[in-house]
């Protein structure tokens, strides 16, 4: 296998940093909006900051092989901390900042972190709460000193002080730092990332420098990324995607990482930066589209007519223009006018004016949403990846983009489909191991390096594109033997703006039933426009008109599911609109917002029973966890509705 890093000596991120600081010294490396202004650090300044912190780590007694946990929202100093940790031979472990204290205690205890870097007081408080359970934990470093003056500072340090101490001891510690830096190579651990874990405890995925640097290199070539890109880093730092984009590809290409001012300002920061390369889960695109539609409802009639005309034309020819397919001259002229009057201003409002490559991944995206962005001329594509693969398994090449596939294998990735439909891959990005968990490692990765994705899918013979149906373990059989693929139906349901989340049950049963979560933003707006009063989420979710609307959506979905002969058994016969939003704090979703089926099945067993026993309503009481960890309960009586299904008798014959 070709090893570009081996030839050039660029086998670690500290080495890439040194290269960038030399070759692109004055080019912006990081920006962060603070105090209303975009603050900027060049590569040379970044190298200085990272080195000061690394020296500070040495001064504090960080050993090679130590784990340094990093918790907080995306901020340049926290990205620097990852590379500074690598520089001294330690392993950075970014954690999800919205995890509760107990969840955090498990991960911190599992990796045995001696040092923890926390973004602000909130994170510091969580660590202090659980520090008695952490035997190896020694020092806590915080970034934002606000509110922490009165804390006991024996094991608590200000980030800036650690850097100052590092600078002060520079002469004394530099030889040791150089020694450690020189020992880094392709096989050194680059980072450890905890998977969100749809089942059981989170697992620590160990990625080597080879994994990350090679993946960054091949994917950069695939999309022709350059040092001129600007990205907005707003997705959790603990997520492999953010690490590969904001550290891997950013260091490999030397492009600029922009951090928003706060979570709430992400949308306006996006507009100000205008990234050229953008990555978002479908919900971000959905949210933006919902916002646009809501605002267009309130626009003047002239603007609304112009918008409708422009979008109708974009739907007709927009994607063809983007893919370079033949389009008539008149249509091109009309599209250019549309671009001047509608698409351009709209893209500007969304912050997508400069975008060259956009990716969506993590979940399936609704075809209408996907087409909407593409028809505006935004090169939005789909990607299929995993933490264990250092993200990249398949991606869509320019000009071959469709909403129902996830693309062709990435460079250097091999795919195979097992008999049960499960997708396997082998690539330079394949992870080293699960930390302290050889059984799981052996269960996932075989001796030849093939890794099971856990997803069932197939490769389309004509195009070579991969299509994913569902999680392999969720794919089951209905009582009559027909295929049961809940995610397939759930995704169809979730494409309706009114439906935020759906969970379909039916494995081993006669018929399928579903839980539905309404989308408060969309349904709330609809209620407002139609003068429907409500005082709580629960009340809105139980409103008869809302139920009728959802029923229409379910029935429409059933018709669409029935068209697919393989999966027509999965039509939803009965459904209930839940009285609470499924939430990661209650363990119902993972931190990346994937449904945890087993837990939901146990927790709401009474509702599922009611869905199958034919009753008209069910009274239930559900425990909820508030953001600060306190628990409470909500009671509700939920109406159960029947949905019309398309007869599937013909399908059963076909199946036999």
């Amino acid at each position: 296998m070709a090893q570009p890093g081996a030839q050039t000596g660029l086998q670690s991120f500290p080495a890439l940093l040194a290269r960038n600081a030399q070759q692109m010294a004055d080019k912006p490396a990081y920006r962060e909006k603070e105090f209303g202004i975009w603050q900027c650090w060049s590569w040379r300044e970044t190298a200085e900051e990272v080195e000061a912190l690394a020296l500070g780590f040495l001064n504090l007694g960080v050993n090679e092989g130590d784990f340094i946990a990093i918790i907080g929202r995306n901020r340049p100093p926290l990205y620097w901390a990852m590379v500074a940790a690598q520089m001294v031979g330690a392993v950075p472990v970014p954690l999800y900042q919205d995890a509760g204290a107990e969840e955090m205690a498990y991960v911190l205890g599992h990796c045995g972190a001696r040092f923890i870097i926390a973004g602000d007081q909130e994170q510091v408080d969580k660590v202090i709460e659980v520090q008695d359970q952490l035997h190896q934990f020694e020092h806590l470093i915080y970034l934002d000193p606000r509110g922490m003056r009165k804390y006991d500072h024996t094991t608590l340090h200000d980030y800036a002080h650690i850097q100052d101490q590092g600078r002060a001891a520079k002469d004394e510690l530099t030889p040791e730092l150089d020694r450690r830096r020189a020992r880094l190579d392709y096989d050194t651990i680059c980072v450890m990332l905890y998977t969100s874990g749809t089942t059981g405890r989170p697992k620590g995925v160990v990625l080597s420098n080879r994994n990350v640097i090679e993946s960054a290199r091949f994917s950069s070539e695939f999309d022709h990324l350059t040092s001129g890109e600007d990205i907005l880093s707003y997705l959790p730092m603990a997520w492999v995607g953010d690490f590969v984009f904001s550290v891997g590809q950013a260091y490999w290409n030397g492009f600029c990482v922009n951090c928003p001012e706060s979570e709430d300002t992400m949308m306006s920061d996006l507009r100000e930066i205008g990234p050229t390369y953008f990555f978002a889960p479908p919900r971000v695109f959905e949210g933006q589209l919902t916002n646009v539609m809501i605002r267009m409802e309130d626009a003047t009639p002239f603007k609304k007519r112009l918008f409708d005309w422009g979008m109708a034309h974009a739907r007709k020819v927009g994607t063809a223009v983007l893919d370079g397919r033949p389009v008539s001259f008149m249509d091109r002229v009309k599209y250019a006018i549309g671009n001047l009057t509608v698409y351009g201003p709209l893209k500007n409002t969304l912050g997508f004016t400069r975008i060259r490559v956009g990716y969506t991944a993590g979940e399936a995206i609704g075809p209408e949403i996907f087409e909407f962005y593409r028809s505006l001329g935004i090169n939005l594509k789909q990607l299929y990846g995993q933490t264990e693969a250092t993200v990249f398994i398949t991606a869509q090449p320019d000009g071959e983009v469709r909403s129902d596939t996830v693309g062709v294998p990435c460079p250097k990735v091999e795919l195979k489909i097992e008999e049960n439909g499960e997708v396997y891959y082998r690539s330079p990005g394949v992870f080293v191991e699960y930390y302290k968990n050889p059984e799981s490692t052996a269960g996932t990765k075989d001796a030849e390096g093939w890794v099971a994705t856990g997803d069932a899918g197939f490769i389309e013979p004509e195009t070579g594109h991969l299509r994913i149906i569902d999680r392999a373990k969720d794919v089951g059989k209905m009582a009559d033997g027909s295929l049961f693929a809940p995610k397939y139906v759930e995704n169809k349901l979730k494409f309706y703006p009114n439906i935020l989340e759906a969970v379909v049950f039916g494995n081993g049963r006669e018929e399928c039933v579903a839980f539905i979560n309404i989308d408060l933003a969309a349904v709330g707006n609809w209620a407002e426009r139609n003068n429907i009063g409500y005082s709580s989420y629960q009340e809105l979710a139980g409103h008869p008109q809302v139920l009728a609307t959802i029923q229409d959506h379910v029935e429409e979905t059933n018709r669409s599911v029935a068209e697919d002969t393989m999966l027509s058994g999965c039509q939803v016969h009965r459904f209930v609109v839940l009285h609470k939003e499924l939430d990661a704090d209650d363990g119902e979703l993972t931190r990346t917002r994937k449904v945890r089926r087993r837990i939901i099945e146990e927790k709401f067993a009474d509702i599922i029973a009611a869905l199958y026993d034919g009753s008209k309503s069910v009274s239930t009481r559900t425990e909820v966890t508030y953001e600060d960890g306190r628990k409470g309960a909500i009671s509700a009586t939920l109406e159960i509705r029947d949905a019309a299904v398309v007869p599937v008798a013909t399908q059963k014959v076909a199946a036999e």
Binding site: E34, F35, G36, I37, R146, S262, D264, T265
Partner: protein, 272 residues
């Protein structure tokens, strides 16, 4: 213990300094109505001082006396060691006293940032012409003022609404913007008139945290009026209790809570 002119140490270990403001035998009348009757108390450096009492007790009048909006017919107001003559409110503001209002008094059509910037008015030395030219000193001053405004915006976590017109904001956020405008003047004494009125529990918790943070981070002396007894008792170092224009209690929250007159006032015992 409280008469000690050197100050005292609070239960959570903060050092409270000497007297910043002293009210001596204040009486305030509107025609025949006596709003405040012969009240004396002091406010010390670095403390959170609350004025509580039932409706119509004269709390807001008291705050208006402190802020110089009302001039009492009798009694003296001492601020930082000197007797204060009757003053215009803007002169009081120049002395380093800033306030928020019970009924929000922001410029509704202006953005949050502009509203906060108006709080820097007392710090500005340039006249309208040099500001219009925006050269040299005027530019430097504007940049400094904006820096301070941004610091406070960051502190109160309202970055997201920086450019939003105030009229579009919900009530709880408007209250926070008002606090920002008061803070940006870098006051020595901050007066808060019912900062939690009309808020839900979550908003109250947020506001309480910000008040404590302001006191902790900037060392600002705070005098506040509040209805919510629970909030007052948690926040303040010392409490003055008023009823029908008279002072009926003064001391730490614990002392006040045990005071029979206070209990009577709050439980509504008939007055004679």
């Amino acid at each position: 213990m409280l008469d000690d002119s050197e100050g005292y140490v609070t239960t959570d270990g903060r050092k409270i300094g000497g007297v910043v403001m002293e009210m001596k035998n204040i009486t305030l009348r509107f025609g025949g109505v006596v709003a405040i009757k012969d009240i004396s108390f002091d406010i010390r450096e670095g403390e959170i001082r609350a004025i509580i009492g039932p409706n119509g007790a004269g709390k807001s009048s008291m705050l208006n006396v402190i802020s110089g909006f009302y001039v009492p017919q009798e009694g003296e107001v001492w601020f930082r060691g000197a007797k204060r003559p009757p003053m215009k409110p803007y002169e009081v503001a120049r002395q380093g006293i800033a306030r928020t209002f019970q009924n929000i008094a922001l410029f509704e059509g202006m953005t949050v940032l502009d509203n906060v910037m108006t709080g820097r008015l007392t710090q500005m030395s340039q006249n309208i012409f040099t500001q219009a030219l925006w050269k040299g000193k005027a530019e430097k001053e504007e940049v400094e003022n904006r820096e301070m405004a941004e610091k406070i915006i960051d502190f109160l976590e309202i970055q997201r609404i920086r450019k939003t017109p105030v009229s579009r904001l919900p009530y709880g956020l408007k209250k926070r913007v008002e606090l920002a405008r008061a803070l940006v003047a870098e006051p020595k004494l901050l007066l808060l008139d019912e900062p939690m009125a009309g808020m839900n529990v979550e908003e109250k918790e947020d506001m309480s945290r910000f008040i404590l943070d302001v006191n902790d981070e900037f060392g600002t002396t705070i005098a506040l009026i509040e209805h919510d007894m629970g909030v007052v008792m948690d926040l303040s170092d010392r409490v003055v209790v008023m009823d029908y224009g008279k002072k009926i209690g003064d001391g730490t929250p614990d002392e006040v809570r045990r005071n029979q007159d206070v209990i009577d006032a709050y439980l509504g015992v008939a007055h004679d």
